[in-house]
Subunit: 442 residues, 2 copies
């Protein structure tokens, strides 16, 4: 359903404004009026409109592990074994249904744009599908079905560890060479709601000379380039052992660092790494609910910003799908480390979950409610028993008290995808989620 | 509305059971049938029934600060100034309305029992009210109006710091002497849904010989005794400076430690403190969302349990009111510290938010779904888009993925207080919350 205009009690336009009318046409915001009443045919909401939330790092299929891996002692690495078991069973058909369910959960949570870090490229034994991009296209189909804007981040993954080839399920991830990877992704096409980006899975999965090739490919096309960076101390130690460099230093020497680069996690960094990332003008995509769930640790958000790095956020492993929580955890985890409050303002946190993520994913034309931007808007109820409170602090209350359950409306490119808490095509999303679950049941 | 029986798809009876019929009479559980169908007139739910959630440490009025104190640099101590400003303006009338709204938010979040750590005893200038327990009785009235089970923890607070008398708003907190405090609370009476406990506010607010008097009073009446313990490093340092002992060691020497004692927070403990608390068989009430919000730090949950301490949880400052989140954060914050997963099992976490809290508050007859226990039950939807998933792990999904928004039903002493997400008397609770907000607006 195409919207003509949205009227809200409060809108975040870099600061809060009241009685705001946002007019849309051709998928973009064409006019913003403040201090006015609604007009006939406007969609009218008493809540807070914020720029559509951006989930800058997602592995959609990990959602199927929710609740599956919680009991018993473990670590990131034992979780990875569970995740690999799940990755083994996926087909283009089930991958599409799983992603449709998970992207639908995302738009119900107010997410208008997702960056899907996609590395399951081939059949279970590593054989390319007849349609070599069958898996990537499953994600594109899923995004369209759920109404979310997608950056398909096609991941280059070529070895199992610094000194080991791929094995087992990892054969699904590898194209064998950068050349073959490049050939495959040449078949991918952008659209009004799909753009493309590329990634180096990590320094453990791609050798230095291959990193250079991927980075050069990305630069020549002005494409965003992502990589997992220093999520685990063990990855850092192995990188130093095998190359003499930290992951960040290795990426820099290989030519990957630049203002289209996003370092995903950036949890365990040396002082020199911070300077390198800052000088490169990169984005760091923190995934606090995942980094907490997997016991990764707390990333240096204040130091990253001081160095000149922009922070975006992602739901990553889908332990939860709640960008409001990801944003506030950047601040709240900093409090756990520093014993101080207010390292990041509400405005800064909102930028992490909107504008910074959008730029990281190659959508500089969204992430702000302003004339000319793509009409991606999320409305949060400020009248739930959890979010109601002092009217002077509506944005702080949204960032610190609201959850995905408080999102009432999600507008993507001027289309109402979620209205009054229900997806326009998929209702509460539960039937889709159950169908997906059944497809991957063991 | 008195329930005859609740039928649920799954119930947590120490482990998950399916197709469970819980029969209630006279406020207690009289029969539990598993693997059966519902009968006519049963309330039927497809979700997960868990023992009613217990909030073992609450300051209801702090809820009014939600969103008010987030921006700008600060610490626990700057937050305390904001909180004191709010405490100055409360009257018995507004205290009752605020508590009614907040207790209603609690039952909507599935909380069946709350321990209210109550220290605003007197009028704004410190003069006792004509009815000396007017403020405590406001809480009792509020609890009845919202349908929650209450332990009124009457707090002894006699000085502003180790070497300072009370000043400013603290005059509202102090009875002047332990004798006067004891005389005042002699007027409080228990009921079917209200029990009483006492507290030493903290070692900074009560001198050692007064701690001994309060502890002796509590012991003689077999009353639970609570105290804030080692929430902030500064409190520890000052205690050592003024007494030569850590707060725990001082409390032990004063005779406060015992199996009816609850150490609230217990965040910054020495090795000897852990041994002392463990040997005493105490409960530690962790308040992870508050300790995170205020930058207190992460308490040593694994070490406490290893020492023999039971852990309960509380919403404390009401940064959020979500005992499911408090429970999971005990585990998730441990992951941030240790980089390992699974220090606490789902069963252990559930015990923290139910049985352990109930015992800490003097309700050993609730916190478990078993025949003979008080009929306090919380139902969580496992069919929201956030909670749906692998059916084998329903309890883990509830603890790790559900929020207060997923609670559908709350039963207190066999009375349905929340049904299908709405409070039977107060609906979604928002009108009450707004009324309370207006009463304390600046």
């Amino acid at each position: 359903m195409s919207l003509g205009a949205l009227w809200v009690r409060t809108a975040w336009l870099g600061e809060p404004h009241t009685d705001v009318r946002i007019v849309m046409s051709g998928g973009r915001i064409t006019e913003i009026q403040t201090g006015v009443g609604p007009q006939a045919d406007d969609v009218v909401r008493n809540g807070l409109a914020i720029p559509g939330l951006v989930n800058a790092h997602s592995h959609a299929f990990h959602r199927m592990l929710r609740g599956r891996s919680y009991d018993g002692i473990g670590s990131f690495w034992s979780w990875q074994r569970e995740m690999y078991r799940l990755a083994e069973c996926l087909t283009p058909q089930s991958y599409e249904r799983v992603a449709t369910a998970v992207f639908t959960e995302m738009v119900l949570a107010g997410i208008t744009t997702v960056g899907e870090f996609h590395y399951i490229h081939h059949d279970a034994d590593g054989t390319p599908y007849a349609d070599r991009n069958a898996m990537g296209e499953a994600l594109v189909t899923a995004a369209a079905a759920s109404g979310i804007r997608l950056t398909l981040i096609d991941v280059c993954y070529l070895r199992g560890w610094f000194d080991r080839p791929v094995s087992g399920v990892q054969r699904r991830f590898s194209d064998g060479s950068v050349g073959a990877w490049r050939d495959r992704i040449a078949g991918l096409q952008a659209s009004a709601t799909v753009r493309h980006a590329v990634a180096i899975h990590s320094v453990r999965a791609v050798a230095e000379h291959d990193i250079t090739s991927v980075a050069s490919f990305a630069r020549s096309r002005a494409m965003p380039l992502h990589a997992h960076v220093s999520e685990q101390p063990r990855e850092n130690a192995a990188c130093i052992e095998h190359t003499g460099l930290t992951p960040t230093a290795l990426l820099a020497r290989a030519g990957a660092i630049g203002n289209l680069f996003t370092a995903v996690h950036a949890t365990h960094l040396e002082t020199d790494d911070l300077a390198t990332l800052g000088a490169g003008g990169v984005t760091a995509c923190m995934c606090p609910t995942t980094e907490r769930d997997l016991g990764d640790g707390i990333g240096p958000s204040t130091e990253l910003i001081a160095a000149g790095v922009a922070i975006a956020v992602g739901s990553d492993s889908q332990a939860t799908i709640d960008i409001l929580e990801e944003m506030r955890l950047v601040e709240l985890h900093e409090r756990l480390v520093t014993n101080r409050r207010g390292s990041h303002s509400t405005a800064d946190l909102l930028r992490m979950g909107t504008e910074n993520g959008a730029r990281s994913l190659g959508w500089p034309d969204t992430g702000r409610i302003e004339v000319g931007a793509l009409a991606d808007i999320t409305v949060v109820s400020m009248e739930s028993v959890r979010t109601t409170g002092d009217p002077r602090n509506v944005a702080s209350r949204a960032v610190f008290s609201a959850t995905a359950a408080d999102v009432t409306d999600t507008i993507v490119g001027g289309e109402a995808v979620v209205l009054d808490g229900n997806h326009v095509r998929h209702g509460d999303g539960v039937a889709l989620a159950r169908e997906a679950q059944a497809l991957v049941a063991e």
